[in-house]
Amino acid sequence: MAFLEVKNLTKSFGDTRVLKGIDFDLNSGEVLSIIGSSGSGKTTLLRCLNFLETADGGSISVDGKAVFDAGDPLLSSHKAIRHNRINFGLVFQSFNLFPQYSVLRNLTLAAALKASEENPDYKKRKKEINAELDERALRLLDRIGLKEKKDSFPCELSGGQQQRVAIARALMLTPRILCFDEPTSALDPELTKEVLRVIKDLRTEGNTMIVVTHEMDFARDASDKVIFMANGIIEESGTPDKIFGSPESPLLTSFLNQ
């Protein structure tokens, strides 16, 4: 059984069927790139995985445990969703950092709030817990090369730096699968490089990731598996060698040639 299993996922907005039955799976430590033309449903798929949208049908399981099943009302309660969504992290195209907080606080805020809810003796050990979180955040910032920016505010950073902070923020909650929705499409080529560098490092460290991307070089060189989406279905999937080397679908061929 694969680490992540997505079965027959469907989603419509009104009369528009955006996902028409998505099936795929992913092993732990693998990187999946999702490519496809605009409007093919890539963002919607990621949003369903992260519970920002509720899929109409299908199921999602992580490590053998069902985290979503359209037919199971127990899994769609507010509480269950809040519990299950921690399996996934999401990095947005537009970063969405919190403008009023320093870089360090952006990283620690959600983790501190979580600790205050889940840790029965949070009040007593508040200082200690926050110090631990700060330390973890600093280690992450060090890894993405932004330790000296810990006290800066998001508006003082370049787009590439903001996106790296957003990645670190998602990592603070140690998601089991980290998703990226076109993490570099708001960035200049130069800044794109530094962000992709960080994602590649994360791969080396064994993180399981799903990356929606328009960077074909990245999909070819840095993923274990590629999915090509068209009109709400997976038109073709396979290893990067197969997708880029010997594409079968005519839609994929013309997508790659454009």
Binding site: L97, A110, P154, L173
Partner: protein, 227 residues
């Protein structure tokens, strides 16, 4: 010397009335505006529509007219003048003052409601979604992330509105509330003394300047970190 003292006393009374009207209006209109803003965003369409229609009507008609309606309508149409309401215990100036205050509160609550609504609706959807995927609850999202951004969004328009309120308090004279301008003009009319009028002008100017300064400080503090 005696006239100076008596004139100053009358002015001080008007001054107190103006300040009371100003601060009490803010005190009640801000929470009420928040409530109006929330109601104008509820799911229930009928309620939302009614609230927005009410706000539209209040904003679309002069405060002067609203003052007249609140203060004189009960007496003229229902034969039950404000001045005779038991709550006021025969205190005529108090009844006028409360009527005027009521009109001010409703009027300003509607303006504030629109400012609050705009401030809330201007927060990018991505901020809520970022909180959601980070596992925050709704209340954590609102109080830890959204609220400060809303406050920042509304400081400048609130500043305008509050300075306008300073000057609008002078309208209360039309329903016999002896605020500072009314006091000064009565002194001019009855005693032919003009300086209280200049004094009044200086008061409005000083008060507005103070408020502008205060809001400027808040705004600067809030925007030190983010655009």
């Amino acid at each position: 010397m005696e006239t100076f003292l008596s004139v100053s006393g009358k002015l001080a009374q008007g001054f107190g009335t103006t300040l009371s009207l100003f601060f009490l209006t803010l005190l009640f209109a801000i929470p009420l505006g928040l409530l109006f803003a929330c109601i104008s965003r509820v799911r229930l369409k009928a309620l939302r529509f009614l609230m927005r229609a009410f706000i539209y009507i209040i904003r679309g008609t002069p405060l002067l007219l609203q003052l007249m309606i609140v203060v004189y309508l009960p007496g003229i149409v229902f034969n039950n003048p404000l001045t005779k309401w038991p709550v006021f215990k025969g205190n005529v100036p108090l009844s006028y003052f409360c009527g005027a205050l009521f009109a001010f509160v409703i009027n300003y609550a509607c303006y504030f409601a629109e400012i609050f609504r705009g401030g809330i609706e201007n927060i990018p959807k991505g901020q809520y979604e970022a909180c959601e995927v980070l596992g925050m609850s709704h209340s954590q999202t609102f109080f830890r992330v959204i609220l400060l951004q809303v406050i920042r969004n509304i400081v400048a328009p609130m500043s305008n509105e509050v300075v306008t309120l300073v000057k609008d308090t002078a309208l209360a004279r039309t329903v016999s509330v002896v605020e500072i301008y009314f006091a000064a003009s009565e002194i001019l009319r009855l005693q032919f003394i003009i300086w209280p009028l200049f004094y009044t002008g200086a008061f409005y100017l000083g008060f507005s300047a103070l408020l502008t300064l205060l809001f400027g400080m808040i705004e600067k503090r809030l925007s030190r970190y983010w655009r």
